[in-house]
């Protein structure tokens, strides 16, 4: 799977309140949440993000609450994947569980600049900066999480298990 798009850069410790403020959590409708994606970090973001674009951020992306509304909002906004130096742990789990591809790569987080054209080869864990002609490696994803992705998210994975009686 290749994800390709323009990079939007964010700093370190982007928290879940910045990704989707609690004032919008009285709904879990993805389309509604997408309208406010990253609003408190950059109010213009929902208007300017294009399908396929990639969020590139510093350390500890998604820290704070356990709200799955955060990766849901990012995914519904059309963002194809998120690259960060590191992810907060609940966000990391949630992203896999709902099927938002995320890649941990300190090199990419350093090297990529706002507006760069980026292509991510998920299978090989390689991130290409097409604008600058650079290549970075992403931290490999544990085998078990790859199975979750392959199944199309945790719920499909569990539903299959339930069906097969295991």
């Amino acid at each position: 799977m290749i994800y390709r798009g323009k990079a939007w850069k964010f700093g370190a410790d982007v928290d879940t309140d910045a990704i989707i403020p609690a004032r919008y959590l009285n709904t879990s409708d993805p389309a509604e949440l997408a309208k406010h994606c990253m609003e408190d970090a950059d109010p213009e973001f929902p208007a300017k993000v294009q399908p396929g674009d990639i969020i590139v951020a510093g350390k500890n992306f998604g820290c704070g609450s356990s709200r799955e509304h955060a990766p849901i909002a990012i995914k519904a906004a059309g963002v194809s994947c998120v690259i960060a130096k590191s992810f907060a742990r609940i966000f990391y789990r949630n992203a896999f569980n709902i099927g938002l591809p995320i890649f941990e790569s300190p090199e990419a987080a350093e090297g990529i600049r706002e507006g760069d054209e980026v292509a991510v080869d998920a299978g090989r864990g390689v991130i290409q900066n097409l604008t600058r002609g650079e290549e970075y490696r992403a931290t490999p994803v544990p085998e078990f999480m790859q199975q979750i992705i392959a199944a199309g998210g945790l719920i499909n994975y569990v539903a299959r298990r339930v069906k097969s009686g295991k």
Binding site: D13, C63, G64, A159, V162
Partner: protein, 421 residues
């Protein structure tokens, strides 16, 4: 080599003799928790799995607490989904308004979690129950849905960091100050993916309320869980309260830790975390002149009886500053009732505070105390991110109940000794 308390609890729930940090394990959960924000998503996902009913109606707990009593129509619809699901699956522990509390105050108080338990909750502050010597961690709604169906979840065994606190805690310094200081030392990702084990003579003398406060904020350092070794204080708390059998686990003397921190806290001052990260902690005497518009005393961090007692001990005989709104939110109905019987509620109202029914409310910027542009709040809550309590250009400062009460009286961030002479 020995194991840490966290490793032992995970091993026991994985049906293994031992586990190693980094290992992925499938574990049985003792309790699974959701609230009015996260459970609606979990219920939607649960219904896709294809099971008839939840794995155990005594072990799926739903607590509407974030936007209840319902703040608007959409919130009401979310809360209604919890109620309908609870009725359909005949859940034993669903807490309606009037009988509820903030989930992480309520579950320990009601004896729903005990030492040695493995608890997951679709709320990041589920790590609170580590104060009881349980392994508990926050997950998302989809993880909750899977656990509601299977009674299991997968976890990566975390490495542990040990924190040793020595010395004598000075007056006015409590669990909140210890944890703010600790996060100030290690940063908001200082314990990313890890377990924080809180130990030492100071912790042994700390009350259960103080321990729950510390474990509550482990997630603010990025940790998977925070945990306090269970002891006599734990035994006294859970005896006669726990609804299920419990077990005390202790770390082995030769357990492995990724890091060990040794803090002498004899000279620690009450701490204040400045905007916009909990790691921006500094002693209250170094706060400078920071005027405030609102003070909130409550939340799953500091909404317990001891917190209200401490706040009342500062407020007694004083008035809230003319420029300040003081909002006091007891964590549960029981805390409210106890505070009423002890005369604390009277102290608050006489001082000029608004006392609310239990709710998360302003803590997450939900309702009941939202900040306007440019307003500043000092709160006993746990997060001071941009826009956490209202307008993106408002500010939240975090502190314990004594500093909060003193600041409400003086209209600026202040130490309790400035009010209680």
């Amino acid at each position: 080599m020995g194991m840490t308390i966290t490793e032992k609890i995970l091993a026991a729930h994985a049906g293994a003799d031992r586990v190693e940090p980094g290992q992925l394990v499938n574990v049985k959960v003792d309790l699974a928790l959701g609230n009015d924000i996260t459970a609606p998503v979990a219920i939607r996902e649960f219904e896709k799995i294809g099971v008839e009913t939840v794995w155990d109606r005594d072990r799926v707990v739903l607590v509407p607490d974030h936007f209840v009593p319902n703040k608007d129509i959409k919130s009401a619809e979310q809360a209604l989904q919890l109620k309908q699901f609870a009725r359909k699956h005949n859940l034993t522990y669903y807490y309606e308004v009037g009988r509820m509390g903030i989930e992480h105050c309520l579950l320990p108080e009601q004896g729903l979690v005990g030492p040695g338990d493995l608890v997951i909750g679709a709320d990041s502050h589920t790590c609170t129950y580590g104060g009881l010597g349980a392994f508990s961690t926050g997950v998302g709604s989809t993880d909750l849905a899977a656990a509601m169906a299977l009674g299991e979840t997968w976890l990566k065994v975390p490495e542990s960091i040990k924190f040793v606190y020595r010395g004598e805690l000075p007056r006015w310094v409590g669990g909140k100050d210890l944890i703010l200081y600790t996060i100030g030392q290690i940063g908001v990702d200082g314990a990313l993916y890890m377990a924080m084990e809180f130990t030492g003579p100071v912790i042994e003398r700390l009350s259960m309320d103080g321990r729950l406060t510390m474990a509550n904020m482990a997630v603010e350092a990025g940790a998977k869980n925070g945990i306090v070794p269970p002891d006599e204080v734990t035994r006294r708390y859970v005896e006669g309260r726990a609804k299920r059998p419990y077990q005390f686990y202790q770390s082995d003397p030769d357990a492995h830790y990724a890091r060990v921190y040794d803090f002498d806290v004899s000279k620690l001052e009450p701490q204040v975390a400045f905007p916009h990260l909990p790691e921006n902690a500094r002693p209250v005497s170094e706060a400078g002149e920071v005027t405030i518009d609102q003070v909130v005393i409550g939340s799953c961090t500091n909404g317990r009886l001891e917190d209200l007692r401490q706040a009342a001990s500062v407020l007694r005989g004083h008035k809230v500053n003319d420029n300040v709104r003081l909002i006091v939110i007891p964590g549960t109905q029981q805390v409210y009732m106890d505070a009423l019987r002890e005369g604390l509620v009277e102290v608050f109202i006489e001082a000029g505070a608004a006392v609310s029914t239990p709710t998360c409310g302003p803590c997450l910027g939900g309702y009941m105390g939202i900040l306007a542009k440019g307003e500043r709040c000092l709160a006993t809550t746990n997060r001071n991110f941009v826009g956490r309590m209202g307008h993106p250009e408002s500010e939240v400062y975090l502190a314990g109940p004594a500093v909060a009460a003193a600041s409400a009286v003086l209209g600026r961030i202040a130490g309790p000794w400035e009010v209680v002479k």
